[in-house]
């Protein structure tokens, strides 16, 4: 226990002098890095605009309120598109994620040396690139529209679903698998009767969870031209139609809240 001798009495301390010094130096380094970063940000900022910001914010607020309610009649189709992008994207992703997850899980992969790293690479690379970037890429390849959005969401979700799913597969109870194997079941039968029933609740949970996230992401995909309500948002922003922008933002907020509520309800029912 680190103690400090002070006029003959021992006083308890949390750390020794050496530890204190190291920690102090660590904090100093951290603060220095932060200040350096701040300096770079500050250097590329036009501070005049920043000082002017309260006035601009006030200006935008007065322009944006009240929202242009009658514009909502034109938002029906974009919302339907957004829902389709999220739902179809999630379905395709789940379809593709299942084999990837089985190839990535340590207890089901055919080869730990070759196939598992490949599956993990698919998971990492699809997961670390945002759906907006996938959408950009797909628009360059297959042209703008809802289809590009669906594929972008699908690719982005493969990694997420497969990662959670393969972790669920690795955590299954092995005795059930053994029992099925002992009956003389083939490899596929073991999978269907020993593994799948154990991961089915996790699978349903992942599907709904990802669908919820995808609703969020698909609302903004239109900003780069991949369909959905984001298209209207970007069109309204381009012509500075702030009353329309505020209405669209309200609709997006409502969609996000509803999808989160649905997903929480369904997951509550499953688990």
């Amino acid at each position: 226990m680190p103690v400090l001798e002070h006029e003959g009495t021992q006083i308890w301390r949390r750390r020794t002098t050496g530890e204190n010094l190291i920690r102090w130096f660590g904090w100093l380094l951290g603060v220095a890095v932060f200040l350096y970063c701040w300096q770079i940000i500050s250097a590329s900022t036009t501070w005049f605009f920043v000082w002017d910001a309260p006035r601009i914010a006030d200006d935008i607020w007065t322009r944006a309120t009240p929202p242009k309610w009658e514009y909502i009649t034109q938002l029906g189709r974009p919302i339907w598109d957004t829902l389709n992008i999220a739902t179809l994207g999630t379905l395709i992703a789940l379809f593709l994620a299942v084999p990837v997850a089985f190839l990535a899980a340590r207890n089901t992969t055919p080869s730990t040396l070759f196939i598992r790293p490949l599956a993990l690479l698919i998971i990492v690379s699809t997961r670390s690139i945002n759906s907006l970037i996938w959408a950009l890429l797909l628009i360059a390849i297959i042209g703008p529209g809802v289809f590009a959005g669906v594929i972008a969401i699908a690719i982005r979700s493969i990694g997420f679903c497969a990662k959670l799913l393969y972790e669920a597969i690795e955590e299954i109870d092995h005795s059930q698998v053994e029992a099925i194997t002992a009956t003389g079941a083939s490899r596929w039968q073991v999978m269907a009767y020993g593994i799948v029933p154990q991961i089915l609740p996790a699978f349903a949970g992942i599907a709904v969870f990802r669908w919820d996230i995808n609703i969020r992401e698909s609302t903004v995909l239109g900003l780069v031209g991949a369909g959905g309500i984001g298209l209207q948002l970007s069109a309204s922003l381009n012509v500075l139609a702030w009353p329309q922008v505020s209405l669209i933002l309200l609709v997006i907020l409502a969609a996000v809240v509803i999808s989160e509520w649905v997903s929480a309800k369904v997951r509550g029912a499953i688990i």
């Binding site: 970063c37 690139i129 907006l132 890429l137 360059a140 390849i141 529209g145």
Partner: protein, 271 residues
């Protein structure tokens, strides 16, 4: 005795139990799903000719990954990447510092009701608004550049970290906190010695995870003018410079993988 006879004796043969037990609910869900799928496919417009034309370009992009071009746009890539990293570091520091008091305030077992309501409100707003939409608004208010991106990421960090921190505080062991209180500690000492040691491992883990997320998000903020590598990537796609785009994507994936690896090590050490 053949299988046929055994089945006759037992009445019915064994069947896999259904995932949804209520038969009416099961068939309603299925019918609803089929109807939705038909409606979705009817309304989605896919220009198959365009998709077919795009396959060549898609293949060209895949090939670009085998020969990424880091050199010809290196100065743009480097400045964009540096800006992304700087934004990530600064926003993570500020976001974590702000989210600690808000997290304390959003924990029902520590904060009084008015503080709790206010802090939960902040968390809810921050979580409902997506990064990219916040970024659009902040760019409109503060002008182009990394300051808007920095503010966006800080804001998003607050919602994420405060919520998970508050949940962790609410689930902490009361006995230790009470023991500190019984020794006559002031409020700050109580937090420092009774609460903080219990949540520290989780706080470190979550912070590292959030840094990881912030970097990924910083890669897309450039699309709306909020600084970072996104703008460079967007330009590369617009010019069909796939080899440069591939180089940027490889860099992003590499950094995300490195961060994930690092966060795995740190989280394993603190927990």
């Amino acid at each position: 005795m053949s299988h046929r006879e055994l089945d006759d004796m037992l009445g019915k043969g064994w069947r896999k139990p259904a995932f949804v037990k209520n038969a009416t609910l099961r068939w309603t869900l299925l019918a609803g799903f089929v109807t939705y799928m038909i409606a979705a496919f009817m309304t989605i417009e896919v220009d198959w000719g365009r998709v077919y034309d795009g396959l060549d370009r898609g293949w060209a992009f895949v090939l670009a990954f085998t020969s990424p071009d880091f050199m010809s746009r290196w100065s743009d890539i480097w400045s964009g990447l540096l800006e992304s990293i700087v934004m990530t570091v600064a926003a993570s520091v500020v976001g974590i510092l702000i989210s600690i008091p808000i997290g304390l305030g959003a924990a029902r077992n520590i904060a009084p009701l008015p503080v709790y309501v206010v802090c939960r409100g902040i968390v809810a707003i921050s979580r409902a608004l997506q990064e990219i939409i916040v970024a659009i608004l902040l760019v409109a208010i503060f002008g182009f550049g990394p300051l808007a991106g920095f503010l966006t990421l800080s804001f998003a960090t607050i919602g994420f970290l405060s919520k998970l921190l508050a949940e962790d505080i609410e689930a902490m062991d009361k006995v230790q906190a009470e023991a500190i209180k019984a020794s006559g500690a002031r409020w700050v000492q109580w937090i420092n010695y009774g609460v903080q040691p219990q949540i520290m491992p989780r706080l470190v883990g979550l912070s590292i995870y959030r840094i990881d997320i912030n970097f990924r998000e910083s890669a897309i903020l450039g699309l709306v003018g909020a600084g970072g590598i996104g703008a460079t990537l967007n330009t590369a796609f617009d010019r069909y410079e796939y080899d440069t785009a591939a180089a940027i994507l490889i860099l992003i994936i590499g950094i995300v993988m490195a961060l994930e690896y690092l966060s795995g090590i740190i989280r394993a050490r603190v927990q």
